[in-house]
Symmetry: C2
Subunit: 208 residues, 2 copies
Amino acid sequence: MSVRVVLVDDHPVVRAGLSALISGTDDLEVVGEAHDLATARSVVAATRPDVVLMDLDLGEGPGGAAVTAELRALDEPPRVLVLTTYATEADILRALDAGASGYLLKDAPAPELFAGIRATARGETVLAPSVAATLVRRAASPGPVVTEREVAVLELLAQGLGNREMAKELFVSEATVKSHLSHIYTKLGVDTRAGAVAAAIERRIIRR
Amino acid sequence: MSVRVVLVDDHPVVRAGLSALISGTDDLEVVGEAHDLATARSVVAATRPDVVLMDLDLGEGPGGAAVTAELRALDEPPRVLVLTTYATEADILRALDAGASGYLLKDAPAPELFAGIRATARGETVLAPSVAATLVRRAASPGPVVTEREVAVLELLAQGLGNREMAKELFVSEATVKSHLSHIYTKLGVDTRAGAVAAAIERRIIRR
DNA sequence: CCCGGCATCATCCGATCGGCTATCCGACGG
DNA sequence: CCGTCGGATAGCCGATCGGATGATGCCGGG
């Protein structure tokens, strides 16, 4: 009774690698692969896997978090184990919020990956050490944490948008954007837009 | 007489994937793997491969470009084919400057990858279409490169300094700072300070 | 020898930003 | 039921920015 796994990753090389690694075990089995949302939907529906290994960066189209959310909305949803390269606070929160059961990094050694898949199949939550650290830091610090909305502002800010443009993009008024910015400055300990972008990238709140 | 290949990538998954893919051919052969500079050095010395498949982002420590440069400095250097995820202009230039014979992206289909390895072994130069396009675009335009002074401004800018403060720091007038900023905006294709910081970090003009 | 790129500086002015104060609302928890 | 928090909104005002325009001096390549 092996654990049935579906791979979702836009890189053929990575899918082949995971396939090769997993085929070397006797209790894990790859039953399907997908490179985008549409394919993932149909493959999961057809194969009903125990665990979906999900990359967050799928190139064009919806990202892994969106795919995760959609898969988790199914009747008997598969457990989703995120396996990706980056781990900004925003990435992690978005993925877990979408219903992922775990979050591992691609530089994990194979045995750890296997253990993670098995644990996920059993319903446990697995987190890479650095991801756990990020979550702990976030939980432990009584300190200021940027809110979801503020992250959105930061992402637009990094694209060089002005307040008016951000407001339009976020469907709020310019006053609201300024309010968010003020909070961001306080929380990041800066007092300019440029400084906020640098600090946000530094702390991996956003990525480039 | 098969082509002997060494893999350099910090992700076990990717190495396994490439290994699996390459073992499916009858004229290519993986003779070694490495995940960092030190390992790459000894593995290449021991196996003397025809081609090294090089990832640029090796996590901690020296990047793939540095490893490439070091390998190319050997007596009978192997040809190096870069195989990576991202392809910013800076990445490409650094890699080619370090002596890489080609630059492919990880989302390339397997047959293309195999063809690239064979071509590299023959001494040809292989470039992914998007990489070629980037180089062409650059060659076509007498490309703007940020000057030393402009980099200095960018670094201060990323610290959130205002024009007056930058001027004081650089021992120039505020007008000069503004002049530099204007040039920076033009060269980076942005029109705000925040955008300039993001673009500069993205292109690795400044480091965080 | 002249041109172009780089660095420097100046002035002007409209647009934008940043800081401040204040209000309102829904959600969550004590 | 009340306090707190995230989020949205408003107005005000001085400081700053961004763009336009123009000028000077130096240096290196054609």
